[in-house]
Structures are given as C-alpha cells and as structure tokens.
C-alpha cells in the first residue's frame, strides 16, 4: 500500500531576511516544525530568492550533500577548496561537505534577482573528504522525458553524491502521461513541481507543491498544463 505525504506550496515556512526570501519545505534555521523534519535522506528543500548584489557570506558546512539548482539568474560560488564558479540555469552543483568546508554564494548580478533550489541530503557516510562538482544538464534534457541529473555513481549521468539517491528533471507539454520507475523499491520519491499543474498517482499538484511517496514501484504522472518537475529519489531509512 503506497504511503504519501503532501506539502502544499503555501504550507512551507518562509524566512524573509529582506535580501533573501527562503521558502522552506522542512525545518531549517529558526523554523522548527517537528512534523516537517525530513523525507528519508532528504533533509532540506529551500526555494530561495536572492536580491541582486547580495548573497550568503562565507560560512561552514560539514557532513551534508548540498545540491544547488539555479532556476533564474546566476549564483557565484567560492569555497575553501579554491573552486570559483558561476552556476546558471541548466546546471547542477553538488558539494559533499564531509569533514568540513567553507564557502560563499552570491547573486552574480547586481540587479537581477537569482532563484535557486537548495537541497540537502544526509550522506551515507560521515566525514568523507570534501568534494565539489558542477555540470550542465540542459544539453541532455529531451522534451517530455525525465533526465537524470544526479546519482550515487561517478560513472553515471549527472553529478554524483555520497548517498543512494537519484534526481531527475523534466519539462513537459500538457496532456501527457509519464511513468517513472524507481531505482530501488525501498526508496521513496519526492516530487517537486517547479512550475505547472500535474497529477501524481491521483494527487493534484501545482507550482512549488511537494509530494512524497514510498512503498511504490513507479510514479504515474499526468501533465494538466505545461510543467517542469524535479524528482528526488532517496532512501527512507
């Protein structure tokens, strides 16, 4: 019997720091809700809006797989491993924080706001050597199909992380039916609607809604409008 959890967009916590507006699906920073801690290994799903010319100053991380997907604008990243890069729409970035790193992230434009998804997954091992990876996925994105942008395997498509997780992203026309099998039956899958209206295993979802499912074999998605959808498959324990 499938199990599900629904996180409507307007049920997310909002952290408004002026320069940063962060819509947080799970407990983060000062927002603590014991009912919203995690979905399996998925611990953070922040939908962040950063004003032009602003950003996150240098700060540390450890023991976390941190994935950034820029939706609009650009994000300039610098870290203590001497990586300097701008992440743009169509790219995915991962940092395995492991034993500890420092980094900073700034909007790469003085005027135009940047929008990005900040996603944290618990690692499957603590205290790994920190690593950084950034890759374009949009060149592989085929219309009306999910494309893998992250996996646990260095030789597989997309970036890789220290967790048995897979991310898929797709852009779809209205009126399609898509079946998406899970990599592992014991995993759960979290559907995040970047934009559009869809139905997932009978559940209606709209912009920025999240829907977690586990104890299932596959997803059945119907697109009610044009839609952009992120799938996050993670271990549930």
């Amino acid at each position: 019997m499938a199990k599900t959890v629904l996180h409507k967009a307007d049920s997310r916590s909002i952290a408004d720091h002026g320069w940063l507006k962060s819509f947080q699906t799970f407990s983060f920073g000062g927002n603590y809700n014991p009912e919203r801690i995690q979905f399996g290994a998925l611990r953070v799903l922040n939908d962040d809006y950063i004003d032009g010319g602003t950003g996150f100053g240098e700060h540390p991380h450890d023991n976390m797989e941190i994935i950034s997907i820029v939706l609009e604008g650009g994000l300039k990243h610098e870290d203590s491993m001497h990586n300097v890069a701008v992440i743009e729409p169509g790219e995915v970035q991962v940092m395995s924080a492991g034993t500890g790193i420092y980094h900073q992230e700034y909007n790469n434009d003085e005027q135009v706001p940047a929008k990005f998804l900040q996603i944290w997954l618990f690692p499957n091992q603590r205290n790994v050597t920190p690593r950084y990876q950034q890759e374009r996925y949009d060149k592989n994105l085929l219309p009306n199909q999910f494309t893998q942008i992250l996996s646990p395997n260095p030789d597989d498509a997309g970036v890789w992380i220290y967790q048995d997780a897979w991310f898929h992203l797709g852009k779809f026309e209205a009126g399609l039916k898509i079946n998406h099998p899970l990599k592992h039956k014991k995993n759960g899958i979290y559907v995040f609607v970047i934009k559009g209206t869809i139905q997932v295993n009978g559940q209606d979802l709209a912009d920025r809604d999240g829907f977690g499912l586990w104890e299932i074999d596959a997803l059945e998605i119907n697109t009610l409008t044009e839609a952009e959808v992120l799938l996050i498959e993670v271990p549930m324990n």
Partner: protein
C-alpha cells in the same frame, strides 16, 4: 530559567567555533567546546550536560566508541550527530535531542 548545557565535539576548529557562537547567540543554551574525543570525555566526566552534539572529524568507529564511553558515564544524556556544519539544522537537531530527555 537555567540554560540547557550542550557539549559540542568537533575536530574542525572553524566549524567548532561557529557552532559554539551560534548556540550561545540563541540565548537558550550554554555551549562547551571540545576538539577531541579525550577532551569530550574529560569535560563530560566533570560537568553536567543535557546533550552532547557530535560534530565532524572523528572516524565512524571512533564516534561510536565515544558514544558508548559517554553512555557508560551517563546513559541518560542523549548523544546526537550533527549534520550541516552551520545554523541550518543545528537548532532542530538540538530540540529533537532534548525531546529525548
């Protein structure tokens, strides 16, 4: 009201300093730093802590061994593993840990 006492272990000096600063800044908790397993055991043996927060740096076996040693001294004090290294998850972890007491 007495502040809850948290013993924070982290081998990374910068992250340990950050965690202590964030916890103290909250006003709700008092944080004591420890940079090694030996230091954790020494402080835990002589202090009264409500929670031990296990940060980065020890090998997995060493973390488990330290947790076992702490529980031998006081099995009532929760030992929780910190993830993230900054403010993001810190207070949720502390509140979840204190809920166990």
């Amino acid at each position: 009201m007495k502040k809850k006492e948290i013993l924070v272990m982290c081998c990374h000096p910068g992250i340990l300093e950050t965690l202590i600063r964030l916890i103290e800044k909250s006003g709700e908790f008092k944080a004591t730093p420890a940079a090694t397993a030996e230091e954790v055991l020494n402080r835990f043996s002589t202090g009264a802590f409500d929670l031990v927060l296990m940060g980065a740096g020890l090998a997995p076996e060493a973390e488990k061994e330290l947790e076992r040693d702490l529980h031998k001294i006081n099995p009532e004090t929760p030992v929780i593993y910190h993830f993230g290294g900054g403010s993001g998850l810190l207070f949720a972890e502390i509140k979840q840990g204190l809920d166990q007491t």
